[in-house]
């Protein structure tokens, strides 16, 4: 028998009120937990989908430039001592960082020019499987190459040269076939020959070498700076930089989803708190005589406050337990119905459930703080005489 006996007995004997209030509060907790699961999964999924719109990290050799001017006229920067990266070593280093799970694609590139008939055309050597991961917006007339001596032409270049898919021509020392022609992208890809990287390395006599590597990283779980730092650590001497505009644009979309769900969850939580607060306030008014009696028996103001807060904590913890379980189930179903995450469904975590219980208990205690303080301030004689 102690101070907690009173709220426990009260909850047991007045169970319909307790159950109803718990359910209302649990509804709030369920909505919050479900929204949290959905936003987390949808945020991750959204970011993965946005990855298709470009890389966000660039790995390149540290190039030395020389500013050239003469007579006060700038002639631009002169790039000298152009160095190449070793493809296998660079890709392997990037894939081996501690945050490698956040690396969605690693796309090495070798850029140069090669003779096509009488003219020189720009050729970009790529790994098509990785390139398609970061450029899902590519639309192709024909097919992507499946063999080394197949190439893809940019739309503008194909039109200028009068080539189409199925055309065969000599590119430098290699006989190649056009596997497909890209639909206009509005970018650099419209004016180049996209060749398999191995073919390009042979064309430019740079076996195993690349100019730079584009990396697409998922930043929902960690800041991009961490990934950049880890890649930099694995590849000392290379320049590793985050393409901030890409990252920020991508994360803005993810954060919008997360902020929206947070706002909705907060509205639900505040409403649930208001219900608990008003209910406790009405309980305080109903139980004035009880409060007066307790004070006459020697209960301190803090004791009375603790009794009402304990009732709320009990209610919050029960609602939190229900909410953690139900919220997980509802979130899972919503994700499944929306088909938002593919195979990835929210996982149940006992630690998270415990955190929800504690959080809801705290929130309930805060909601009950004013009614409980009001109860503690009640004058015992006034409370007893008034009834």
């Amino acid at each position: 028998m102690n101070l907690l006996t009173i709220p426990l007995r009260c909850a047991r004997r007045k169970w319909p009120r307790f159950v109803l209030l718990t359910l209302v509060f649990a509804l709030g907790a369920t909505s919050m937990v479900a929204l949290w699961h959905v936003s987390r999964v949808v945020g991750d999924s959204l970011e993965r989908k946005l990855t298709a719109f470009g890389a966000n990290i660039l790995v390149s050799p540290k190039a030395e430039t020389l500013a050239v001017s003469y007579g006060g006229v700038s002639l631009g920067n002169l790039l000298y001592e152009v160095r190449h990266l070793d493809e296998a070593a660079t890709v392997s280093a990037i894939r081996s960082i501690p945050l490698s799970a956040n690396v969605a694609a690693v796309a090495p590139k070798l850029v140069g020019t090669a003779a096509l008939g009488a003219e020189q055309v720009p050729v970009v050597g790529v790994r098509f499987d990785q390139e398609q991961t970061i450029k899902k917006y590519w639309r192709i007339k024909g097919l992507f190459p499946t063999r080394e001596n197949e190439v893809v032409l940019g739309s503008a270049l194909a039109a200028r040269l009068g080539l189409d898919f199925g055309s065969a021509f000599r590119l430098g020392d290699e006989e190649v076939t056009v596997a497909g022609v890209l639909s206009p992208t509005g970018g650099d890809d419209d004016t180049v020959v996209l060749a398999d990287l191995t073919l390009a390395q042979r064309l430019f006599r740079l076996p195993g070498k690349v100019n730079f590597v584009e990396v697409s990283a998922l930043c929902a779980g960690c800041p991009i700076e961490d990934i950049v730092a880890q890649i930099g650590g694995k590849l000392p001497g290379l320049e590793v930089k985050a393409l901030r505009s890409v990252v920020e644009g991508r994360m803005a979309s993810v954060h919008f989803v997360q902020h929206l769900t947070l706002a909705v969850a907060l509205v639900i939580l505040v409403s649930a708190c208001a219900v608990v607060g008003f209910s406790m306030l009405s309980a305080v008014n109903e139980r004035k005589a009880e409060i007066g009696l307790l004070r006459s028996l020697g209960y301190s103001r803090a004791g009375v406050f603790a009794i009402f807060c304990s009732e709320a904590v009990l209610l919050g913890a029960a609602a939190g337990a229900i909410g953690a379980l139900a919220g997980w189930g509802v979130g899972r179903e919503v994700v499944r119905l929306l088909d938002a995450a593919g195979e990835v469904l929210p996982a149940f975590s006992p630690l998270e459930a415990l955190a929800v219980c504690l959080g809801m208990a705290l929130v309930a205690a805060l909601a009950a703080a004013y009614p409980a303080a009001k109860a503690a301030r009640i004058d015992p004689s006034a409370a007893l005489v008034s009834l």
Partner: protein, 223 residues
Amino acid sequence: MLEARNIAKSYASAEGPAPVLRDVSLTLEQGEFLAIVGRSGSGKSTLLNILSTLLAPDAGQVLYAGRDVTRLPEAELAALRRRDFAVVFQMHHLLPYLTALENVLLPFMTGLAPAPRDAVERARRCLDRVGLGGKHHRLPGRLSGGEQQRVAIARALVKEAAILFADEPTGSLDPATGREIVGLLQDLNADGLSVVMVTHDLGYASCARRVLRMENGAPACAA
């Protein structure tokens, strides 16, 4: 043991402060049974609330064991109510969701002091003493008015207080049950408990050793 000196109290009303007690002084000796009688509105319940520290006077002092208890800080006041004073009300005020035994144990659940090891045993003895031997686990709703008042008296007894204040303890009971309750208070007083009882029934008041009659907020005479 308990002394009230020049107690005055007014309540606010639309016409300004309405005096309820004017310059009331009294003493209660150890082991005394004092009945305070008077008509409704004579100030007897207000006086009892002030004596039992449930209400602060506008002026005057209440001395208990030589200390003015009207000026005590909140924590000491709660300790005094917990330890030395016990109050029984007209509307017995039992918590409806606690059994008779749990209601009697309420003074030990304050969380401010550890309950005695024999708290439950003491509560059982008190219930037996007031004649509720077989009804320890009944909820108040399943007890008669007289039985509920007995539980309230058992609750006052369990902490072995020095003074029992009873505010119209027979007010909501039929005459026969009222007589039983007053008889119980007499028995407790005979065992050494000091009792201050407010009543408007002169018949019950005659059971006390001393009677203080209140009229218009002041003692009319003492018998």
